[in-house]
């Protein structure tokens, strides 16, 4: 806490704070909890739509799916804890995001993970990567929520600062929505779940709100250990409480633990609360009030219950073998009072902790190096060897087969996974209805580094296209903004540009942002990560297509179509430039909102009509990689014609591939024409190699076996040597 912030506390209280009070303010006013650097900018997001039930600000965003069904969605980062202890850091990230969702009354039905590391040739990065994946698997599988998708990428900038973002989707009936409010005076606060220990004291403020440097080990708070078994019992107990209408409100205990879960619900209700720390069930006996208030012990929830229903609440907890203690009571007047050993150890306005946190309008300015970066290009007059380039790209862990990761995750539990990991977007059915939920998560640090506004907007369009390709209408976005040190003006500029890019794209598609998360201080020894926003898109497919397009559905003799603009040559930020030319520079192509809308509409139409068995977007790696992925998954070669090799590797937005039998040609042309989208037949599937032809001459040919081996081994061979 800075001196100025300390003075504000003194001003608020009209006196010097007591030790426990200071502890509460320091965690609640940390960057992680208060969004003090980002809050002034996040208001830019479009957040409204008729189907939004709960927008940003609550634990999770909630949208209306029709027929009394709601979906809750939330994304969260656990970057710094995962660097300190990869397994537990990632595991507790999963635990935390689940609580955010079942706090809303929803049953969590699926998880996604977005993870980024330094290159796998370095053993330390392999250690972090395998630990993070094992942690997500260890927690997600045991808690019993399938991890159905995600993304993994490798760049040097994440070497000292891996990114671990996790997203959770839940569903609920409309009458089961619960909010984090404390209710009327007399309401009882019941702490449910694990006992409180010294875990992660100050974790939120220390770890997530400061940078790593040489002596970060000295700052390490006790590592938090996840207990998925406890969380599983907690989920079932809470869902039973909701079903029996036994809670007025509920709040999870995440960062800032008890401080947050008492003050925020009280403030939301316009109430105060008396809290008795002696009644908190503890793991260690000699904890100070400050430690109890700041502890980030996992798997805890604070339920607010009517006194007449307390016994029933305790009975549900006992049935599920969940410990429960009555720790407080809601009072009129807005003051939070905390007692320990009969002494009043804190007495503060409840709302001051959450609402009076300082905000910083930090200075921002375009980086001085940006113009040079945009001007920096490689000589691309010479045509590369197409086959070799393709092999190099597919053999890179960022573009290769991620099954080493997702086969460690239970991605089938609940029998909802219609399109699981390894395809475009995911598609989950909602049993007992005609509905399906489609989800995609996307990030691209290189593009956002070169142009954060364009890069971020393109992520929104890419996600929306992925969701459309399984037959859904995109309906809501959550975002996770992973950035460097916000005290640097160029980082703040990257941040504001990103917010602008996401906002513009969402506005053009009329998709609201319903939640998100900000992670700053992702830097090591003064070097910031690429600005890395992650976009999570939710879409609704109603009815659920009975045969959604799949990458493995291609057959010899089918035509390959490119839908969308076809003559892009810009390679700025592309995988080709990174992996083949070894260059990063230039300015990525600006997205085009009306083209985006048309292409997304067309993709959805083709998926719903079942015209094309395979749809696949052109994204990282460009057309060549997209074709290769279809060929590998469908186990068939292809012959593709092109006129300029740049077209094969360019990653310009708003394009996708459709693969369909020749009979479908007329329907595809008609649909594309109706949407105002260019449709080009660029080749066909067949044979056992991928051939690229120009003017009827084969200019690149590579056997499917070689391509498949490179792709399959990209991660696996590096991890299982």
């Amino acid at each position: 806490m800075t001196d100025d912030e300390f003075s504000s506390v003194v001003g608020l209280l009209g006196r010097e704070p007591k030790i426990a009070e200071l502890a509460m303010y320091s965690v609640m006013w940390s960057e992680h909890c208060s969004y003090k650097s980002s809050r002034p900018h996040l208001g830019r997001f479009p957040t409204e739509a008729p189907w939004v039930v709960v927008g940003p600000g609550e634990n999770a965003g909630v949208v209306d799916l029709g027929d009394g069904w709601l979906a809750a969605l939330r994304i969260e980062s656990h970057n710094h804890p995962s660097f300190v202890e990869p397994y537990q850091g990632a595991a507790t990230g999963v635990g935390g995001i689940l609580r955010d969702v079942f706090t809303m009354g929803a049953r969590p039905i699926a998880l996604w993970d977005q993870i980024r590391f330094g290159h796998l040739d370095d053993p330390h990065n392999r250690y972090l990567f395998s630990g993070v994946v094992a942690g997500i698997a260890g927690y997600g599988n045991a808690v019993g929520v399938p991890t159905v998708g995600g993304e993994v990428a490798f760049e040097d900038c994440y070497r000292g600062n891996p990114l671990v973002n996790v997203m959770c989707l839940g569903i609920l009936r409309a009458d089961q929505l619960v909010l984090g409010t404390a209710g009327e005076p007399g309401t009882i606060s019941v702490l449910l779940g694990s006992s409180t220990g010294r875990d992660g004291i100050g974790g939120a403020s220390v770890l997530a709100s400061a940078s790593f440097d040489e002596d970060s080990s000295a700052k390490r708070p006790a590592v938090q250990v996840g207990d998925p078994f406890q969380e599983k019992k907690l989920i079932e107990a809470c869902l039973e409480l909701y079903q029996k209408n036994l809670v007025v409100g509920i709040q999870d205990l995440g960062a800032a633990g008890l401080s947050c879960s008492t003050s925020e619900p009280a403030a939301r209700a316009g109430m105060g609360m008396d809290v008795d720390l002696d009644r908190v069930h503890v793991r260690e006996s000699d904890m100070t009030p400050g430690e109890l208030l700041m502890s980030e012990s996992q798997e805890r929830m604070m339920a607010f219950v009517h006194p007449d229903q307390l016994d029933e609440v305790l009975a549900v907890a006992e049935k599920w073998e969940v410990d429960a203690s009555v720790v407080g009571e809601v009072k009129p007047g807005g003051t939070l009072r905390v007692f320990k050993d009969g002494n009043l150890v804190a007495e503060v306005p409840a709302s001051s902790l959450s609402e009076d946190a300082p905000t910083y309008d930090r200075p921002y300015s375009e980086p001085s190096w940006l113009a040079d970066l945009w001007a920096s290009t490689t000589d691309s007059s010479q045509s590369p060897d197409i086959g070799t380039s393709l092999l190099t790209m597919l053999g890179d862990p960022s573009l290769g087969d991620p099954s080493w990761v997702y086969q460690q995750y239970d991605h089938m539990l609940f029998l909802n996974t219609v399109v699981g990991p390894g395809d475009n977007g995911n598609l989950l059915r909602i049993k007992g209805t005609t509905k399906g939920l489609a989800v995609s998560t996307d990030g691209n640090g290189r593009l956002c580094y070169l142009d954060p506004r364009r890069g971020a907007a393109r992520l929104v369009y890419e996600s929306a296209l992925n969701v459309a390709m399984v037959g859904a209408r995109p309906m809501a976005v959550v975002d996770n903004l992973n950035f460097g040190n916000p005290e640097k003006p160029e980082v703040m500029w990257q941040f504001t540009e990103t917010v602008e890019g996401i906002s513009q794209a969402c506005e053009s598609l009329e998709i609201p942002v319903i939640g998100g998360n900000v992670s700053f201080y992702n830097e090591t020894d003064g070097i910031d990560i690429y600005p890395t926003p992650i976009v999570g898109m939710l879409g609704l497919a109603d009815p659920l297509p009975d045969r959604p397009p799949r990458l493995e559905a291609g057959k010899a003799g089918m035509d390959v179509w490119l839908l969308g603009p076809r003559n892009g040559t810009n390679l700025a930020g592309s995988a080709f430039e990174k992996l083949v030319s070894g260059h990063l520079g230039g300015r990525p192509t600006d997205p085009h909102p009306s083209t985006a809308g048309a292409v997304i509409g067309l993709a959805r139409h083709l998926a719903v009509q079942g015209v094309a068995p395979v749809l696949h977007d052109v994204s990282e790696g460009g057309l060549a990689v997209a074709i290769a992925e279809i060929c590998i998954r469908s186990e068939v070669g292809a012959a593709i014609s092109f006129s300029d090799w740049h077209h094969l590797f360019c990653e310009d937005p708003h394009r996708f591939i459709a693969v369909a039998p020749p009979e479908a040609a007329a329907s595809i042309r008609a649909a594309a024409h109706g949407s105002g989208v260019a449709a080009t037949r660029i080749g066909s599937l067949g044979g056992s190699s991928i051939e690229f032809e120009r003017n009827d001459r084969i200019e690149g040919s590579i056997s499917l076996d070689a391509v498949a081996a490179a792709w399959r081994g990209a991660i696996r061979d590096r991890m299982d040597h």
Partner: protein, 85 residues
């Protein structure tokens, strides 16, 4: 030579497995059990080398691989061949 490394979870770190087993033991009727903790014991057979060198090696292995210094402490016991059952 045999080295035994006792890897113990630091006492301020939560031990979910111990907690679950405690509940299990109590359910079996042993209500006087007050706590349970579960640690690891790693036994390495090391080819001929002098004890000082062996200890240094084992310590390095602990720091790098056998123990997780963020969460665990360790204790090394070295035994000459044949010293033990």
């Amino acid at each position: 030579m045999r080295a035994t490394v006792h890897v113990k979870r630091r006492s301020d770190i939560a031990d979910p497995a111990g907690t679950a087993v405690l509940r299990g033991v109590r359910d079996l009727g042993y209500s006087n059990v007050e706590s349970v903790r579960i640690d690891k014991i790693i036994t390495l057979e090391v080819g001929a080398t002098d004890p000082a060198r062996a200890r240094a090696d084992i310590e390095a292995m602990c720091e790098k691989l056998l123990a997780n210094p963020v969460m665990e402490d360790y204790e090394i016991v070295l035994e000459e061949d044949g010293d033990t059952a």
